[in-house]
């Protein structure tokens, strides 16, 4: 995509970010009789990329907008470094956010769009040129932003978010419209950004991207928190062990007695959740049941996500 790699970024000596970077407590938003966000609480910490996951209509965008002071909560609070967004003395120096693919006048050039936003925060024009180079838009900078491709629009949005050299990035579906190189660039950029001690909250419904991108995950459904955990915890939750045995009923009963859950029985196979191979092997040995095969079935983030949101539905 022509953007500079994160290694080209100027190293900055910055004070460590206090934790949590973002704190959401009992956040609720009602639109009429609809509870778009319902008593939601979570924290976003610096140093990691936190994925914000949920099906369409789960309340992700509304939550992000409440954090950013664009939507007023009906109840609860959302703070950034302990302050409401609108109370931050220099908000763009603390938080950079991209919420929509198009948030610019299409008849204004990309550079002018960024310059106007920079002026509002007292940021000099030379920073705009630096950001244009960073996001790989320097050649298209003087073109009307309305002529940009979807990927270029995404990068322009990211450029606007980066103007103030923020410590926290909040991105709503940032990979939409990016080509594979663009996605890789974004991934490297966000990982590098987080590794510098900054915080990233990124929403996405494209779970394969999130699996590569995020360290932590917040899963919401119908406005409620379903789970906050590291990505590895999330996928191990739904990991299954496949046991092949001719005496599946006996083994299933024995596992059940020991508190292990047999999810499905499929031909000669038992699918057991929440157990490791050694434990199941020992149970089979104790009750003298032959085991012909024992394998862990790798679970994807998608499996975990579907499991969590289906349970909640």
């Amino acid at each position: 995509m022509g953007a500079r790699s994160t290694t080209d970024r100027r190293p900055v000596e910055r004070t460590p970010l206090s934790s949590p970077a973002i704190e959401v407590r009992g956040l609720t938003k009602r639109f009429g009789s609809v509870r778009a966000v319902d008593d939601l609480s979570f924290e976003v910490h610096p140093g990691v990329v936190t994925g914000f996951l949920g099906p369409n209509g789960a309340g992700k965008s509304t939550t992000l907008r409440m954090i950013l002071g664009l939507v007023a909560p009906s109840e609860g609070s959302a703070t950034v470094l302990g302050l409401m967004y609108r109370r931050l003395p220099e908000p763009t120096g603390v938080v950079g956010a991209v919420l929509e693919t198009q948030s610019f006048n299409p008849l204004r050039s990309g550079r002018n769009h960024l310059r106007v936003l920079a002026s509002a925060s007292g940021i000099p024009d030379r920073r705009v040129d630096g950001v244009l180079e960073l996001i790989g838009l320097e050649k298209a900078a003087r073109r009307n932003a309305g002529t940009y491709s979807l990927g270029m629009r995404q990068r322009l949005g990211l450029g606007a978010a980066l103007l103030g050299e923020p410590r926290i990035l909040i991105l709503d579906e940032p990979a939409n419209g990016l080509d594979p190189q663009g996605i890789r660039w974004l991934r490297d950029f966000l990982r590098g950004f987080a590794a510098e001690g900054n915080a990233v909250l990124v929403s996405s419904h494209v779970l394969t991207e999130m699996a590569q991108l995020a360290d932590e995950a917040i899963v919401i459904n119908r406005g409620r928190l379903v789970r906050q955990a590291s990505l590895s915890e999330l996928t191990s939750d739904s990991r299954e062990l496949v046991v092949v045995t001719p005496e599946k009923e006996r083994l299933a009963d024995a596992l059940h007695e020991r508190g292990l859950e047999v999810v499905t029985v499929d031909g000669d196979e038992l699918h057991v959740s929440g157990a490791d191979a050694a434990r199941v092997g020992m149970v089979a040995f104790e009750i003298r049941v032959p085991v012909l095969g024992l394998a862990e079935k790798e679970s994807s983030l998608e499996d975990a996500f579907l499991e969590l949101t289906e349970e909640d539905a």
Partner: protein, 245 residues
């Protein structure tokens, strides 16, 4: 606040359609002045420049363009979604409103001055060709230009407030123009005692066109100022409460 004002001025200066509006203003004023000075209406030998009939063109047109400029200030932002980065950079919303009032007020002032300059540059030579000796005084001209700037700036403020309250650009512009250009005229036939206090009448009174016995330019300015205050207050209150979804 200074940053926000500078940002809003830059926004105006880098929006191409603002220049299209300016070209439109120059074109309409030029055509109007030519039509007035070469048509049935003769220039008067006895009145100074600022009272020549052709000057009424800029006095009528500039406030209307000022109103359009004001209406676009927020409706453009809502239309293009740029309200989101604007409010992320300046989350204290009333500051954005204040900055837009100052920037569009400045833009309105420029429109008023340009309209007068175009009128004079085109109108005076035509009168000279018609052997009408145009007299003028700086004081008299300053009063006319001052009133026009005042009226145009108040109309931009009304536009900013209405645009903020209505949000939808087409609805805001169409609704306001229908009110000014049609509804006020119709209502003035039905309820003349009330209609003479409507914004359009107040605006005309400020620039000294057909001032009624009730509305002197000063009273017209007070009344138009009150309308601007109400529009801005209404827009401001709604802006404070509105969710940007």
């Amino acid at each position: 606040m200074r940053n926000q004002i500078w940002s809003e001025f830059r926004k105006l200066a880098t929006t191409r359609s603002v220049y299209a509006m300016l070209a439109g203003l120059i074109g309409v004023v030029a055509l109007g002045v030519v039509a007035t000075t070469t048509g049935g209406e003769e220039g008067s030998l006895l009145v100074p420049l600022e009272q020549q009939v052709f000057m009424n063109v800029s006095l009528t047109i500039a406030p209307l363009f000022g109103l359009l400029l004001g209406l676009r200030a927020f409706t453009d932002e809502f239309r293009f979604g740029s309200i989101v980065p604007t409010l992320l950079a300046s989350p204290v919303r009333l500051r954005v409103l204040g900055a837009k009032l100052v920037a569009t007020g400045g833009g309105g002032t420029l429109l008023a001055v340009i309209a007068v300059v175009v009128s004079i540059v085109i109108g005076v030579p035509i009168l000279v060709v018609k052997n009408i000796d145009v007299t003028w005084s700086i004081g008299g001209l300053a009063v006319v230009v001052g009133r026009l700037i005042g009226a145009t700036v108040l109309w931009t403020a009304i536009g900013v407030g209405v645009g903020l309250a209505v949000k939808h650009q087409v609805a805001a512009i169409a609704g306001t123009l229908v009110w000014i250009l049609a509804a006020e005229g119709i209502l003035s036939g039905l309820i003349p005692h009330v209609a003479k206090y409507f914004p359009g009448e107040a605006g005309f009174a400020v620039v000294g066109i057909n001032p009624t016995e009730v509305l002197t330019p000063a009273l017209g300015a007070l009344l138009l100022g009150a309308y601007a205050l109400v529009a801005v207050a209404l827009g401001g209150i709604l802006m404070q409460r509105r969710d940007i979804t």
